[in-house]
């Protein structure tokens, strides 16, 4: 579980207090589904099913089933009308989004350009980091053939890329963030489209990597 960035972990006393349940979600008017909805309403980042299960006092499997049912319901798959919002699993948890069908309407409302487009250079750098992580700036430069320092800095300040370690040489290693996955609508890096179809010959590329490493 990823704790919110603005807060540190809590002490054992608080955790103990939290474990005593003052309620049973089944007794609530809308049942567990409504309780889940209520929690999702105040979440400001993807919430893992495990965390939701802890909060609701229900088994994780049950909460996961409930989440999938809610998501389907919002899409109108239970016979009701499709909702203007949807529940999606991305970036390591579940979160409520406006439905894409209403992007034009929402776009008129949300003026804050929260999803400013990335430049071609930034996209290419992001692609190399996504597929090659953990990777140094030097290695990304070698693929792109240009210096990527300021582009990497932009990606970091956009929250898409972060430092994930250092090489023995001292060079900083970069990788993508959970926020990147969320923005891609993915739950794991495994969902990235395979690179192989775009590549002619993997053996040749390994040689390239080695040659780069030797520089």
């Amino acid at each position: 579980m990823s704790a919110p960035e603005g807060a540190t972990g809590h002490g054992p006393a608080e955790a103990a207090a939290v474990d005593e349940l003052a309620f049973d979600v089944a007794d609530l008017p809308g049942g567990a589904a409504a309780a889940l909805e209520a929690v999702l309403m105040v979440a400001d980042e993807p919430v893992p099913a495990v965390q939701l299960a802890t909060v609701l006092g229900l088994p994780t499997a049950e909460v996961e089933a409930l989440l999938h049912r809610l998501a389907a319901e919002y899409r109108g798959e239970d016979g009701g009308r499709p909702r203007g919002f949807e529940l999606r699993e991305a970036g390591g948890g579940w979160r409520v989004y406006s439905a894409p069908a209403y992007a034009d309407v929402v776009g008129r409302f949300v003026l804050d350009g929260q999803a400013a487009r990335l430049t071609q250079a930034a996209l290419e750098t992001l692609a190399v980091i996504a597929y090659r992580q953990p990777v140094t700036r030097g290695q990304v430069s070698a693929v792109r053939g240009v210096n990527v320092e300021s582009v990497v800095r932009t990606l970091v300040s956009r929250g898409l890329v972060t430092e994930v370690g250092t090489e023995p040489s001292g060079a900083v290693l970069y990788g993508t963030t959970p926020y990147f996955l969320e923005r891609m609508g993915m739950t794991s890096l495994d969902e990235l489209p395979p690179l192989a179809p775009y590549l002619p010959d993997l053996d040749a590329l390994e040689d390239v990597d080695e040659a780069e490493g030797a520089r």
Partner: protein, 286 residues
């Protein structure tokens, strides 16, 4: 942009306005030709590169005639790839001899360059699909609202362990100017080689020996840049009428004869001009 299978994206990426070639043994997009050659389904030596170039030039002319000229990026991409292909083909056409250990290394370097080009192209294409995916996903806006007051009131009282002094230290630390980002181009332009200087050197050698092969002239060149500079210097000397070229067969040994007499010859510095009046770069602000 609608979500599509990877193959579809790929076709789209190279689709609109893609340059097509029509050869005896191949017809289709230039990109595909490249892929086939790298996968060894097409022998690079059997591809009529001259014809590819002709068609390319024709395509560019046609685009210009329609008043929608190709952008510099597409042109230079073709040039780089075509040059590498040509290089590759030239290397494969040359008979392999025992003494050509260096050439073998050269050949491997070429293959490496080609592989790197294709690798870059792969990332470019996959970057396009990532961009499309980000754009498509951005059609959903996440709910991110401030806590309602009655919920915020539940939070434990904040322990704020810093005072104004510590706050100032933190602010100063965060706001401290970082070194302005610069674009390092040292990997693109290795230490400047002066064509004028190389011309003087080449002219001096040829004046003394009367003639020599290009191979001998660049034998002591420390880097490809110096080789290029000496070649450009020879072209300039040719323009000045100071040298003449002999080449018995295409791609064969190039012999250069000195025809310039004893007079001092200096070449124009078209290549060496310093961009002295160019504005200083503004350090990554835009």
């Amino acid at each position: 942009m609608p979500p599509e299978a990877a193959a579809g994206q790929r076709a789209a990426a190279s689709g609109a306005g893609a340059f097509e070639v029509h050869l005896e043994n191949f017809s289709g997009p230039f990109d595909l030709l490249l892929s086939l050659i790298t996968r060894h389904r097409l022998d690079v030596t059997e591809v009529a590169l001259a014809q590819v170039t002709d068609e390319f030039v024709a395509a560019v002319r046609e685009a210009e005639a329609r008043a929608e000229p190709w952008d510099l990026g597409r042109l230079s991409e073709f040039l780089v790839v075509a040059a590498t292909l040509l290089d590759l083909k030239a290397a494969r056409l040359l008979p392999a001899t025992d003494e050509d250990v260096e050439d073998l290394e050269l050949l491997e370097a070429r293959d490496l360059l080609f592989a790197r080009l294709l690798q870059y192209r792969a990332f470019k294409e996959v970057a396009a699909t990532i961009g499309a995916r980000l754009a498509q996903q951005a059609r959903s806006v996440p709910r991110a609202v401030a806590l309602e007051p009655h919920l915020a009131a539940l939070l434990p009282e904040l322990v704020l362990e810093i005072g104004p002094g510590e706050l100032a230290v933190l602010a100063a630390h965060a706001l401290r100017p970082r070194p302005a980002p610069t674009v390092d181009t040292s990997h693109l332009y290795t230490p400047t080689v002066s064509v004028r200087e190389q011309a003087a050197l080449v002219a001096d050698r040829l004046r003394r020996s009367g003639s020599g092969t290009f191979r001998a002239l660049v034998h002591d060149a420390g880097s490809p840049t110096v080789v290029v500079a000496r070649f450009l210097a020879l072209l300039e000397l040719y323009r000045e009428g100071a040298v003449a070229f002999d080449q018995v067969t295409p791609l064969g040994e190039l012999t250069i004869r000195w025809t310039g007499g004893d007079a001092e010859v200096t070449v124009e510095d078209d290549y060496d001009a310093e961009p002295a009046d160019a504005p200083a770069p503004e350090g990554g602000e835009r």
